[in-house]
């Protein structure tokens, strides 16, 4: 009995399920409010993302002609499910991850990429030109940033000597200043990789509003759109948790969780408002030129330091 209740609570309420969804909405509000203030505007009130989600869920879902209906309806659900499952393996709210096994870093990252794959598939599923162009761009961006992002997150994994998130977090908690000093490049690449994953400006070419209306999700409305949207918010929270757990010294308690993830979010908001949108070919060029090289340089430094016995 006990064995089935605890996983159920973990899955539905905390730290998966309701907690991730609600904190996703809260983080989205913080992001939008910050960007607005940086642009000298007021920004939305605290309940705006919640109101948007409720409104979208309540609207009629229009299934366009020429799509595969089962795929159309199932893809948002799969995307959200993947994002929520990934929440079980990261140290949400500063507490230990609910489930942990060897190699769960790779599983978590794979689950986070499922979201982007589902978006790409959803775009390819329709006959609409804008969605097709958006799907192509989403998948192109996926290919380009995924490698540097993964490699950047592997930096702390290498020095911790494990592929298990709880082990890496424990190591980071003990040696937080060491990681920050020896792997600043990885931190920068991971943060920018997170922005690319979430399609935040300046990497929002896949959903460039002024070119291809809404990218891969143009045809979605109502429930499907709401599910994709909250899936993206969940990904924001999980991504922030991962990066701050690895590079900013682990998350020991809820206060640290709040402080560190919000600090990262502030930096991301400032970066969001500073740049013009990059074209998709510029994004790919940026990642495959600078991102990969920087990460490889970082690895070289790690190898040298390990050889010298410091790490």
């Amino acid at each position: 009995m006990k064995n089935t209740i605890f996983p159920l609570i973990a899955l539905l309420f905390f730290p998966g399920g309701a907690f991730v969804l609600l904190s996703g909405l809260a983080y989205e509000w913080v992001d939008r409010k910050l960007v607005a203030r940086l642009q000298n505007r007021i920004g939305p009130r605290w309940f705006q993302p919640l109101a948007d989600t409720i409104k979208s869920l309540a609207k009629e879902e229009v299934i366009p002609d020429g799509v595969h209906p089962t795929l159309f309806i199932a893809l948002p659900i799969i995307a959200l499910a993947a994002a929520l499952t990934a929440a079980l393996y990261v140290p949400m709210a500063g507490l230990a991850p609910s489930f942990s096994f060897r190699g769960d870093l790779i599983v978590t990252l794979y689950l986070l990429s499922m979201m982007t794959l589902c978006t790409g598939l959803a775009g390819a599923n329709t006959l609409d030109r804008f969605s097709l162009v958006g799907a192509t761009r989403t998948l192109t961006q996926l290919f380009s940033y995924e490698a540097p992002f993964l490699l950047a997150l592997l930096g702390p994994a290498i020095v911790a000597g494990s592929w298990q998130i709880s082990d890496i977090t424990a190591y980071a908690r003990e040696h937080w200043w060491l990681i920050l000093v020896t792997q600043p490049i990885s931190l920068v690449v991971a943060m920018i990789g997170l922005m690319g994953k979430l399609e935040l400006p300046p990497f929002d070419a896949p959903e460039a509003e002024t070119e291809i209306v809404s990218g891969a999700l143009t045809e979605y409305s109502g429930r499907g759109l709401a599910l994709f949207h909250i899936g993206k918010n969940a990904e924001l929270v999980i991504g922030l948790t991962l990066v701050s757990a690895f590079f900013l010294g682990g998350l020991a308690n809820p206060i640290e969780f709040l402080v560190k993830t919000l600090a990262l979010l502030v930096v991301i908001a400032v970066l969001q408002s500073l740049f013009a949108r990059l074209r998709i070919d510029q994004t790919v060029g940026l990642w495959w030129r600078y991102g990969a090289i920087l990460v490889l340089v970082q690895f070289l430094i790690l190898v040298v330091l390990k050889g010298m016995g410091i790490l």
Partner: protein
């Protein structure tokens, strides 16, 4: 090669008041030359109808009740008016002016958009006359 050229401005905005005006809780003072709603002073009007002649959108109409006794009623359509101010320019006796306080003219019903200016007795007379005979509408067209 400069990345983030707007950084200075962007960061200081975080600590400054937003530029948004919180209308309707905060209303800025309108300048005195603002061309708001038209206002008519019947005591100076001679009934020359120059204002009616040059209105681009037929928003003004002078209804003559008694030319000799100078009893006129001005019918003004707020929704037709383009707020150009030509009638004000044309009037030689300075009867017309555009208010600078009355510029929030939106309404969800059709009725407030037709305004009758004149001495109260004249306006009542006009409305009563149109009510009792159906074929004389208060509108001139």
């Amino acid at each position: 090669m400069k990345l983030g050229a707007m950084l200075g401005n962007v960061l200081t905005s975080l600590f400054r008041k937003p530029a948004t005006q919180k209308y309707p809780f905060e209303k800025l003072q309108a300048p005195e030359r603002l061309r708001g709603r038209l206002v008519w002073d019947p005591s100076k009007c001679t009934g020359c109808q120059l204002c009616v002649k040059d209105c681009p959108s037929n928003a003004v109409e002078l209804i003559v009740l008694d030319k000799a006794a100078k009893r006129f009623v001005l019918r003004y359509d707020i929704d037709r008016c383009t707020y150009c101010g030509q009638c004000v320019e044309n009037c030689r006796f300075k009867c017309l002016e555009m208010s600078s306080e009355d510029w929030e003219l939106a309404s969800i019903q059709k009725q407030p958009f037709t305004v009758y200016y004149g001495h109260d007795s004249d306006v009542e007379f006009l409305l009563a006359r149109s009510a009792e005979s159906d074929n004389i509408a208060p509108f001139g067209d």
